[in-house]
């Protein structure tokens, strides 16, 4: 019997390998191999069935394709909303941290939208921005009937509407992160500063904010990654990427190129580009998590 001759540590290691194997197979089969395939297919003419090697010409074509640049530009424009997607939750977290009467209920309410699908939030946002929607009612009510718009219907404003919705969807998660960060702040520090005569703003600026820096970094990374890879549901139900290409981001461009136009190879190539972008951001996150140890 072969098993008899295994030493104890060999048996432990064998168990370790066997235990890790299913997970490893899943990750290799459904994540690692597809990355390799995507790289390969990006050099081919591919419709999902037949592949023809065409070398780098897909790449040169892609970089001459204005759709790609539009999508990248849209992503870049959306990045401008990131400061708000961080600042607003930070402010809300600081308010919650004052622990005013009923703050726990407020906390639960603020986080509640986190549980809802972005499909649903997108549908609701559509109601908000629609011509007979809430936004225009508000504008009307405050006497600004003149500026009533259909934000989702216009190329110049649709991306902004998407950005606003994105900010709303991130509020819960980021507030949660910042609140956790604030909870780890030693109150005696603030107290000491107050006794030293520091004003509120100075305390926030010089004590609270530095303490939160790691949480802000993490929230930043998570927000940017969400921006590149989680807007699909919102775009799908709110604008379908339009009007024109006004709200087509990288991830939506991949979907459209692959599944609406059937250009699998080009879509795979766009996937690689998206992978490189999020990978760069991801490395930052790994270092944030890792630097903890």
């Amino acid at each position: 019997m072969k098993a008899r001759r295994l030493t104890l540590s060999q048996r432990r290691q064998l168990a370790g390998v066997v235990f890790a194997l299913p997970a490893l197979a899943l990750v290799i089969g459904l994540i690692a191999i597809p990355i390799g395939q995507a790289v390969y297919y990006s050099f081919t003419q591919w419709d999902g069935i037949t592949t023809t090697w065409i070398g780098t010409s897909t790449w040169t074509q892609a970089f001459h394709n204005s759709d790609l640049w539009t999508a990248l530009k849209n992503n870049a424009m959306l990045l401008l909303w990131v400061p708000i997607a961080l600042g607003l939750p930070l402010a809300i977290a600081v308010l919650l941290h004052q622990r005013v009467a009923g703050w726990k209920i407020f906390r639960s309410i603020y986080f509640l939208p986190t549980a809802i699908s972005w499909v649903v939030l997108g549908l609701v946002a559509e109601r908000f921005f629609a011509y007979q929607g809430t936004l225009n009612s508000i504008l009307h009510a405050v006497g600004l009937s003149g500026v009533t718009t259909n934000m989702l219907g216009s190329e110049s404003t649709a991306l902004a509407a998407l950005g606003i919705t994105f900010v709303f969807t991130m509020i819960g998660t980021n507030t949660m992160l910042f609140l956790t960060g604030l909870a780890t702040l030693d109150p005696s520090l603030e107290e000491a500063a107050r006794i030293d005569g520091a004003g509120r703003w100075r305390i926030f600026r010089h004590i609270t904010l530095p303490h939160l820096s790691r949480f802000i970094q993490l929230a930043f990374v998570m927000t940017v990654i969400a921006l590149f890879s989680a807007l699909f549901s919102l775009i799908f139900v709110m604008t379908g990427g339009g009007p024109g290409y006004a709200t087509t981001t990288m991830e939506f461009l991949i979907y459209q190129t692959g599944f609406s136009q059937g250009q699998f190879g080009t879509a795979a190539l766009y996937g690689i580009i998206l992978f490189l972008i999020t990978g760069a951001v991801g490395i930052i996150q790994l270092r944030l998590i890792g630097s903890d140890k």
Partner: protein, 364 residues
């Protein structure tokens, strides 16, 4: 129940031996204490016996079976961990019965064995509690209980008392020894505390830097330490070790920093002393007697412990001094700064080789 034999067992971590060719035999039913300073390889030796650590070389047997590659569960040994390692999600009764349950014993049988063990350990009132709701001493007893319900081939205990306070430790010392004798299971008990070793073990194995120094009964260790390390490790306060220059006349003469003491031949005869040169002279604090004449020393410090007093003495010579601790009775009038003379109960003297530290006692 079975005997245990370490035969040249070695464990190497990253090129450095933690246990170096350990050979040790534990008789069936014997209480063997493995003692030594922290980091000397005691835990490693115990874990190799439990099957939790690979043996680098040598052979380890339980009964007449070599168990080097036998899985822990097939070794049938029970272990008590330093931090108890109780299962936090199980009650006391479940903790104690778990090993039996794994072996597929009947519910009634398990309940009966747990009940009996709880009786011995005075845990009967706590069987439904979770470990978290127990005191340190009770947790320790549950850990014991987990071992004894199994009636294993051997008990392995790794510093099981080190997390208890002093009073409880003394109590549990007796308790564990009592239970072990009651059950008659071969036991390897690891501790760094020589008092535990001396009070609990049938025999004591002293280890240092992965090497076994001596295996003997507590009395033998005290009376005939195999080397200066054992001499200094066993006994509290430890044996005094003085470097002396030896010469032979009518008696054997020792020169300590210019002062001499003579050792009657009838006492020196038990040792094979060199004709000249240095030897380490060992004398226990309790074998030092304050006298009107003898070795002159100065009292550096007095420690009154109640029942006895420890005197820290220095023997001063030209440009050098040697330190000595003596034990005297209570309520002494001696104070620091006094000069006094001491003599030695030389029938209890020890001699060690200066270089190797080995005893010079002639093999009897």
């Amino acid at each position: 129940m079975a005997a245990i034999t370490f035969d040249g067992v070695t464990k190497i971590y990253a090129g450095k031996p933690a246990v170096d060719s350990l050979s040790l035999h534990i008789d069936d039913g014997e209480f063997m204490v493995l003692v030594g300073p922290s980091g000397c390889g005691k835990t490693t030796a115990l874990r190799m016996l439990a099957g939790l650590e690979e043996i680098t070389s040598g052979a380890l047997s339980i009964g007449d079976q070599v168990v080097n590659n036998v899985l822990p569960k097939d070794r049938d040994v029970a272990m008590v961990f330093q931090n108890y390692a109780l299962y936090p999600h199980m009650s006391v009764a479940q903790n104690m019965g778990f090993a039996l349950k794994i072996r597929g014993e009947s519910k009634a049988m398990i309940a009966e064995k747990v009940r009996a063990a709880a009786e011995i350990l005075r845990l009967s009132d706590y069987l439904d509690r979770r470990p978290r709701a127990l005191s340190g001493g009770q947790r320790q007893r549950v850990a014991m209980g987990r071992a004894i319900v199994r009636s294993p081939q051997a008990f392995l205990m790794d510093e099981p008392l080190s997390n208890l306070d002093a009073k409880l430790r003394v109590e549990m010392r007796l308790e564990i020894a009592r239970i072990q004798r009651l059950l008659g299971v071969a036991t390897l008990y690891v501790t760094h505390d020589q008092v535990e070793a001396m009070t609990m073990g049938d025999r004591v194995a002293v280890m240092r830097d992965g090497h076994l120094q001596q295996v003997a009964t507590p009395q033998e260790l005290y009376d005939r330490p195999a080397n200066d390390f054992v001499a200094g490790f066993i006994g509290s306060p430890p044996m005094n070790l003085l470097t002396t220059r030896v010469s032979h006349g009518a008696d054997v003469t020792l020169d300590i920093l210019g002062q001499t003491i003579s050792v009657p031949t009838r006492y020196a005869a038990a040792f094979s002393l060199p004709a000249s040169g240095e030897v380490t002279f060992g004398i226990r604090p309790e074998d030092i007697v304050i006298a009107t004449e003898g070795l002159r020393a100065r009292v550096e410090r007095c420690e009154a412990l109640g029942a006895e007093t420890l005197l820290h003495l220095s023997v001063n010579g030209p440009g050098a001094s040697q330190h000595l601790v003596a034990k005297t009775g209570p309520r002494t009038s001696i104070v620091a700064g006094d000069d006094l003379s001491v003599t030695f109960a030389l029938e209890h003297a020890h001699f060690f080789d200066v270089a190797s530290g080995a005893t010079l006692r002639a093999a009897s």
